[in-house]
Amino acid sequence: MRDRTTLLVCVILALLLIGGPFIPQWAMFIVTIAFAQGLVALGLMLLLRAGLVSFGQALYYCLGAYAAGALGRFLGIADIFVQMLAGALVAGVAAFVLGFLLAKYRGIFFGLLSLALSMILYGLLVKNEALGSTDGFNILPSKLFGVRPGAEWVRYAVMASAAVVSLLLALVVHRYLRTPLGRLAPAIKDNEIRVEYMGASARYAVHVKYVIAAVLAGVGGALAATTVGHIDPEMAFWTTSGEFIFITILAGTGNVIAPFAGALLYGAIRTTAYDLSPNTWQLSLGTALLLIIVFLPEGFWSLFKRHARHS
């Protein structure tokens, strides 16, 4: 079967860049947030392929957002690419350090330890006056290469930047999945003893995946910060991590595009649910997840795969 991922990515990017100016502002916002959340889900997908579920990926999402916010608050920098770079760096360094601890754990211990770490960050931010405590703070208006785009072009500029960076990162992950280290993921999930006795270190492989996932989440957090224009400690709260897991399960681990499509679908389900019944939208969301797990346990991306197998 020929791999069409690169082609698909290029088509999506071209459509967004060319068609972008013609879609309404609110749609641009939704697409941009889907890219931000999709990046986090892409990282979770990497971990999930190795059998690891992080219940605390919001840690790196929040770190990325605060790194971007701090740039503006303390240094006056609001360039969107610099913000994303800062988010990636801060999240990556944090994950590199914490990875020495987490890469030793599997299953429920890995999940709960990651949850605990994200809640520690939440606790620290809530108590921190300089970073706005529970209220958080506003982000400086986004700039692109030092220039502030015109009011009607800001959303498009942010969306286009998000699309370019996110899809580029998706291709990087796609390539990584085909390297020996990337291929090791299902092997680690299946049988770590055999991995060790083939001369590979499962712990090292998990550590690398953990850092990559954090970097993706950090970029996503910075992107969300600059899109929404405001950040607060809720970004590290466990329910935020839950949303990312929801998206990952919804999407499945079949392809690097799936997390972004999953994030978009999640946004649609959530918005519709809120529209239909503002007081019980969680009920609709829960039902949607239930249906996915029962009927499409490998995520909605498996629909395309199934089709490919039959044809």
Partner: protein
């Protein structure tokens, strides 16, 4: 023949149970050695100590003159000591072919090939072929070609054993340790499996140690026998001599043999 693996004074206790008491064995290069003994005699403990899964309480293991006692299993594997398992250790969610591809990927990665920035199809060291081709070649050699696309979970017992051994062969081991390669395999298949494995191994020029309960298999394939009893080696000789030893007859082979 020069000695490739030298175990000296290995001791290992699990609480009150003695799994190894002063085990000494010098294994010669390119030899085929059979390990025999009843369950709990210390055969698997011996293999587990060589491969680093267990650390001996006392004693040392040298591989080509280098002390490997303190090394982790993956480092010992990288030096060229590979093993198969009593219960096959496979990647059960993957196909037979993908099992081989994962293993070949590790060999590539350890050789510094096939990384993120490498182009095209890097050649697997030892095979001088891309991973896909090396995988097909190994599957062919171990009679696994017809199971290529089957899920590892759904394989018959003998095939699981062969795949487990094929996975151990991917790194082109200098020493191959086989823990009961023919257990759970029908009597008719046993000789075929051993023959196939040893043919495959001899083509590569590796030393083989295998644990075996079937004395017919041992006397046919082993050049030398180490008989274990109660954590000790009670006989170390060519099969004809070792299997005729009164102590071995009494403690290992049993009356009926």
């Amino acid at each position: 023949m020069p000695v490739i693996l030298d175990a000296r004074g290995l001791c290992k206790n699990f609480g009150a149970v003695t799994a190894a008491a002063e085990v000494n064995a010098a294994i010669e290069r390119d030899s085929v050695v059979g390990l025999i003994g009843t369950n709990g005699a210390g055969k698997t403990t011996f293999i587990n100590m060589i491969t680093g899964y267990l650390k001996p309480d006392r004693g040392s293991i040298e591989f080509e003159g280098r002390d490997i006692t303190p090394l982790a299993p993956r480092d010992i594997t990288r030096l060229g000591i590979c093993r198969s398992f009593q219960i096959p250790q496979l990647y059960s969610s993957l196909s037979v072919f993908d099992n081989m591809m994962v293993a070949l990927g590790v060999v590539l990665a350890n050789a510094g090939r096939g990384g993120f920035f490498s182009r095209g199809h890097p050649l697997v060291p030892g095979f001088e072929a891309p991973a896909e081709e090396a995988a097909e070649r190994l599957l062919e050699r171990f009679g696994l070609a017809e199971y290529r696309d089957r899920n590892a979970q759904a394989l018959p017992g003998g095939v699981r054993k062969l795949l487990d051994i094929a996975l151990a062969m991917v790194a082109r081991p200098r020493i191959l340790l086989l823990d009961e390669p023919t257990s759970g395999v029908s009597a008719a298949e046993k000789f075929g499996i051993m023959q196939m494995v040893l043919d495959g191994v001899r083509a590569e020029g590796a030393t083989v140690l295998f644990v075996e309960h079937d004395m017919e298999v041992v006397s046919r394939f082993a050049q030398r026998v180490l008989a274990f009893y109660d954590g000790r080696i009670i006989a170390d000789a060519v099969p004809q001599v070792a299997l005729a030893d009164p102590e071995v007859k009494r403690y290992v082979v049993g009356r009926h043999a």
